[in-house]
């Protein structure tokens, strides 16, 4: 029913932002893995919990219970369960005075081994008589978990910053000018049609917020059987999607050709529009792939002239099950 060019342009733009967001997310995850961003923040969080006592931190990370969480020899862990942290800390604090779970030795150790600020915190935590937590270990675990909530917040902020940096670098590197993409989609019907077809296929796939499983076991009375999810879909973008990005991105070389021979206000206007187009793209990419996937689905639903009864509004809001 609706085949309006402006709607198809909106679909095309959402599709381009979705593809660029997918590349950006992939790059961000890769860099986080290579730079050990999680491990850095975990270490910083634990250091903060331990009152920035470098000796205590070293003893903790050298403890065999923590060593077993290193991803490789001499590598720092990027994740540490509360139980291991609590047991290792209790073991260090009690030292030779008794077993790690010896309440007396633990309190004695806290008074003698730890620095004043941490000592005060830990003694207050152990004195907590809340019925929810019973043992000393559970109390220390709860304290650690609260600290790790802060670490999660740091990680999210770091990730957001990295996404902005990567979005800017990628947008400039690819010269992904939203104004140019809009113009191309508006004026070139062949490209617009091809892009909308690709967008349709992408919108029918998995929402890009989570890892795709290999198989879903959904035959409830045949647990040995499974439904395979996309056995041939291994790439971030398909060949068609890559080709369509090529058609839509102007490239610095072509942009320079457009500016050649222009002078004065005309040139200034073109460059200003180009910069605004780049800024718009970078800002759009930071909204993330799930956002653009949902937006694309909304436009697709409008284009297909309303939804069939029971059809989900979009992939993020599934329709209720019916008998």
């Amino acid at each position: 029913m609706f085949g309006l060019p402006i709607l198809e342009v909106a679909i095309g733009l959402s599709f381009v932002y979705l593809l660029l967001s997918l590349i950006c997310t992939t790059l961000n995850e890769t860099i986080a893995g290579l730079t050990g961003r999680r491990a850095d923040l975990l270490e910083k969080g634990i250091s903060s919990l331990l009152g920035d006592d470098p000796d205590l931190k070293k003893k903790l990370f050298d403890h065999p219970l923590i060593g077993s969480f290193e991803q490789a020899k001499n590598a720092r862990p990027s994740y540490l369960p509360a139980s291991k942290f609590a047991l290792a800390l209790m073991d260090i604090v009690t030292g030779d005075k008794g077993a790690a779970n010896d309440a007396g030795a633990l309190r004695e150790g806290i008074k003698t081994v730890l620095k004043p600020a941490l000592r005060t915190s830990l003694l207050a935590i152990l004195a907590d008589s809340s019925p929810k937590v019973k043992s000393d270990q559970e109390k220390i675990e709860a304290w650690y978990d609260e600290g790790m909530d802060r670490v999660s917040g740091w990680y999210k902020r770091h990730t957001h910053l990295w996404i902005w940096i990567l979005a800017a670098v990628m947008t400039i590197g690819l010269d992904a000018d939203s104004v140019h993409i809009f113009k191309t989609l508006w004026t070139n019907q062949a490209i617009r049609t091809a892009v909308v077809e690709s967008a349709k296929r992408r919108s029918q796939g998995e929402r890009p917020e989570a890892l795709i499983p290999l198989v879903i076991h959904n035959s409830q009375n045949d647990p040995k059987k499974g439904t395979v999810v996309a056995p041939h879909n291994n790439d971030v973008l398909t060949k068609e999607e890559t080709s369509e990005l090529n058609d839509l991105l102007i490239g610095w070389k072509d942009a320079a050709k457009e500016w050649k021979g222009k002078t004065g206000w005309e040139l200034f206007g073109l460059i200003l529009l180009h910069i605004l187009g780049l800024l718009f793209t970078a800002a759009a990419v930071t909204l993330g792939a799930p956002f653009w996937f949902d937006t694309l689905n909304r436009f697709m639903n409008i284009r297909s002239a309303g939804r069939a009864p029971g059809e989900p509004r979009d992939k993020s809001h599934p329709a209720p099950a019916t008998a």
Binding site: S68, A72, I212, P231
Partner: protein
Amino acid sequence: MKSRRVPHFLTLPMLLFIAPLANAQTIVLQRTFIEKYKNRATIDGTFIVDKAHPRPNSPANDGDLHAAGRSIDVGLPMVAEIMNAAGTSQADVVRAIHANQGNATAVPISGAWRIWFEHPSRQPQIQFDDVPPAGNTNPDHCFEIHPITAYAGKPILQSLQEINGFTPKDAESAFGRYEKLSASLEIDDQTVTITSKQVGFNYVKFIAQLAGKPDSLDNNDAGTLDGQVVLANVFDNAGDAVLVNNVRLIFIAGTGPAQALTNSPDGATLELLALPRLDLNAISTFIDAGGSGSVVRKLPYEMIVVGAKNVDGTP
């Protein structure tokens, strides 16, 4: 004419996507092994004990007894673990393991096979390459026979039960972690190379509602029923909301948990103690459907049930 910038640009993220997994554990499994064990609860074979713990872990630390060693039927660095090892019924098996420690004797063993990326090594572990004797009781490994159900002809099926004095992981922490795990798989004609990051969360206690009817697993090497498999929905700690749908639960024949399953009506709700392991059935199904080359996906897992009771408390 347009330049071809994007394809070159995309090769970088694809390569880099795999790169951070380089420090994680890589295991190369033979596809014949996957096919044999994809619907089996246990593995039967022989085991050489190189190093064993002198005594079981304390109940607070899970109560297991670890023995590191080698098996020609597995062909990977491995450990075998007895559940509730301090129990009197397990005493003969503990003694037998200690008696065989270090004498390079291959002794019959049975138990749940378990591949899990808990103790990573720097080097990939390639199935049926030479496996050197273990230098300690907990060498780098991602293959376990855990729990052991029989050793040297002595069955210890009754060891699969609650561990008194041990606090298992809770459902939200454990399944929250499992659901976020990724794995890189490289599939060729003979092998599947699996790389994943380290993960623990061994024993987890959770409420599960049976989502379908149990089905028999393949027979074991002796030709007898190896166990049952059923899909179940896993609930949060409060038992109010479903955390994960249709998780494969593996029950070992002849154990208390298997009996609890048999006694449970359709849709029953059970409180379970279980260990996670790689779901070889999912990998086999993926390959059968034409899955090939390299993929990065969610780590497929299933749960070996080692303790079970109905929520009304009936064992």
